[in-house]
């Protein structure tokens, strides 16, 4: 009985073309977009974009600073220097053609318009220079004999730090976005979940009535339907994840089985969220869908789909949200799988996800268990 209803449920899912279409299109579009826009950006590029800067030479200018800038421009590709007059520099800055102006006079001054990442980098260039010069002049004054050696050693550019890793697995900075994308894809199951619940309630649809009057326990039917939706959502999401992994070459790690398991629970949560929302009293279907999308969006936002670093922010201010937000848990589960060589944290996330699923199941059950309706 169950399996037949399940089979038909699957068939119906497969034929809901539009739903499937958007479900599959979603990771493809957004994934491709992420990848193309930011994918080839590694840490270095992220930190050091060539920053346009104006350079004005004044009296008593320091030759070393100009050399430093040229070096930074040509070798490190950190800045893009325009050598101009003072007036012109100000004009460029106002028009936002440059991010700052270096005035090279008896001392180095930096002029900027706003605070920001670029400004900070410019500031650190200036500081670095001044500190090095400061140190130099101190040494020159007190131990002139060693100046040669000092200068020689600066050029060496040591790697003072031996980079250890808590894991031998690698991860690039964009991964969080892709994880959040997978989370969102899982949670998209909420739409079919709503359909499922609405088609089940006899007071909401004729189909529901017909199934309620049948001689099979209606919860068997409902369960079969839900399982079918979860299966469909699971395959959609797996497809999306495969697209990310094989077409876009996103590093999702090698823990395939565990990732699949997580996607399965994620899809279950997605569908159950929909079922839960669909079971709430008597409200319009459009409101139900609105609620679904709203809840899903906020969950994904908090998990960092739209702004990276959101997870940490939440962790600092309201860590409890990260423990109960399914999107965060999915992101975190993927993250832990790829970072750590033990499964403790992954298992914790999975337990959290399972708990949410169970709560949603119980909640929905409590709402639909009523068997007779006051009106149809």
């Amino acid at each position: 009985m169950f399996f037949r209803a399940y089979g038909y449920g699957l068939k119906r899912c497969a034929r809901e073309k539009y739903l499937m279409f958007w479900n599959i299109l979603f990771p493809i579009i957004l994934g491709t977009l992420f990848k193309v826009s930011f994918g080839d950006m590694n840490e270095r590029e992220f930190m050091f974009q060539q920053i346009p800067v104006a350079y004005v030479e004044e009296e008593q200018s320091q030759q070393e600073f100009e050399t430093l800038l040229t070096e930074l421009e040509e070798e490190n590709q950190l800045v893009k220097v325009q050598k101009v007059s003072g007036e012109e520099a100000k004009k460029l800055l106002r028009e936002e053609e440059v991010k700052g102006i270096f005035w090279n006079g008896s001392s180095i001054t930096l002029t900027v318009t706003e605070e920001g990442m670029d400004t900070s980098i410019l500031k650190s260039i200036q500081e670095q220079y001044e500190k090095t010069v400061g140190a130099f002049s101190e040494i020159a004054a007190e131990h002139p004999e060693n100046l040669q050696m000092v200068a020689g050693n600066i050029a060496k550019q040591w790697n003072y730090l031996k980079e250890n890793s808590i894991t031998n697995r690698n991860m690039d900075m964009m991964s969080d976005y892709f994880y959040a994308l997978i989370a969102m894809n899982c949670l998209y199951g909420c739409f079919s979940g709503v359909n499922c619940a609405v088609a089940f309630k006899a007071n909401l649809s004729a189909l529901g009535a017909r199934r309620v009057v049948a001689s099979t326990n209606r919860f068997v039917i409902l369960l079969a339907d839900i399982c079918a939706k979860i299966t469909a959502q699971f395959f959609c999401t797996v497809f999306g994840a495969m697209y990310l992994k094989y077409a876009l070459k996103v590093n999702l790690g090698d823990e395939t089985v565990r990732i699949l398991l997580m996607i399965l629970i994620g899809s279950a949560i997605g569908v159950m969220t929909g079922v839960f929302v669909g079971s709430i009293g008597k409200i319009k279907e459009s409101v139900r869908e609105g609620l679904c999308i709203g809840v899903t969006m906020i969950e994904c936002f908090l998990a960092g789909l739209m702004a990276s670093g959101m997870y940490q922010l939440v962790e600092t201010y309201a860590p409890v949200i990260n423990r109960i937000n399914p999107a965060s848990l999915i992101v975190k589960a993927m993250y832990s799988l790829n970072i750590y060589d033990t499964y403790t944290r992954y298992n914790q996330c999975m337990l959290g996800l399972l708990a949410i699923t169970v709560i949603l199941c119980i909640g929905s059950y409590l709402m639909v268990r009523r068997e007779r309706y006051a009106s149809i």
């Binding site: 009985m1 038909y8 119906r12 009535a209 009057v213 049948a214 001689s215 006051a374």
Partner: protein
């Protein structure tokens, strides 16, 4: 005495202020085709929903096959087939899949189910449309599919709630014949409709609901006997004077008279020799007349007379 399949006693159902069922009493006996008539909003669908344990009700009892029906009375539900007013099929499943799905909710055995599905398809004449999706079907076919889904598991009690709404005469005939066939095969049938001819044609017993109460019930003959009109006599007569009309009106058993464009319609209450008496009068007065024919009252007359002619509110139960 025949076995009672459905027994409704003193059923009361309120929707807030509106009383949908007001101490309704009904019994349906085994082997009947039981017609449930009533204007829109008279409580037919509500009554059916109560029989199916879909609705809770305020008072009274509903017994099906001798037992109080509960939402989990799966053993009883196994015996019931339902065709609801609104078409309830899956948009994304084909004709055959739909029937199989619903049949499968009742019958677990695979081979038996296969047989049932086949029979239901033949029954509804959907052989050529097995692989069609419901949205590709015409109105009549869709209704037939709706019915096939409800009866595929060979229930002993079949409830049909206006199964022929918006269906062409061919499809309707097929549906009605099918229902009679199911009845001959042993199923008890509860049938609601607005089409009096249908009910008159197939139902062995009829109940008329109005404002949530059963205002009349019995065989169609019994019902017809209940109303004033015994027969209607139509005559083609040229030129009748008002005095003559008055005289006809005063004849025994005549209670209503209309005369328009040479056609005289006389309604007589029950009684014998109405026609003879009227013809006697015409002969006596030497009024020439053309065609004469009489009509027995139809169910339509019964219905209108019992429930009144004013328009019903549109709130469907």
């Amino acid at each position: 005495m025949a076995e009672k399949v459905v027994e409704i006693e003193n059923l009361v159902k309120r929707y807030k202020e509106l009383v949908a069922l007001d101490h309704l009493n009904l019994t349906v006996e085994k082997g009947e085709i039981f017609g449930l008539l009533g204007p829109n909003g008279s409580g037919k669908t509500t009554a059916i929903s109560c029989i199916l344990a879909l609705l809770n009700f305020d008072k009274g009892s509903v017994k099906v096959f001798g037992e109080e029906i509960q939402p989990d009375s799966y053993r009883i539900k196994q015996q019931i087939g339902v065709v609801l007013q609104n078409v309830a099929v899956f948009e994304d499943l084909t004709v055959q899949e739909n029937i199989d799905y619903f049949c499968g909710l009742y019958i677990k055995d695979k081979t038996e189910r296969k047989k049932c599905v086949e029979e239901a398809i033949t029954f509804a004449g959907l052989e050529d449309f097995r692989k069609f999706l419901p949205k590709k079907l015409s109105g009549g076919l869709l209704r037939r599919l709706n019915i096939a889904c409800g009866i595929a598991h060979k229930p002993k009690l079949i409830i049909l709630d206006e199964p022929t709404v918006a269906v062409d005469p061919q499809s309707r005939n097929r549906i009605l014949e099918g229902i009679q066939k199911l009845n001959r095969e042993g199923a008890t049938i509860i049938y609601t409709s607005h089409y009096m001819e249908e009910v008159e044609q197939i139902c062995s017993r009829i109940a008329i609901l109005d404002k949530g109460r059963c205002v009349a019930s019995g065989t169609k003959e019994e019902l017809k006997a209940m109303i004033k009109t015994g027969e209607k006599i139509h005559m083609e007569v040229m030129e009748l004077t008002p005095e003559q009309l008055e005289e006809i009106q005063s004849l025994q058993h005549v209670y209503q008279l209309t005369y328009d464009k040479g056609m005289l319609e006389i309604r007589c209450s029950g009684g014998k020799h109405n026609l003879v008496r009227i013809l006697d009068y015409f002969q006596q007065k030497e009024i020439s007349f053309g065609r004469v024919y009489t009509e027995l009252p139809t169910l339509n007359d019964v219905f209108l007379e019992i429930t009144g002619k004013e328009l019903r509110d549109l709130a469907e139960g």
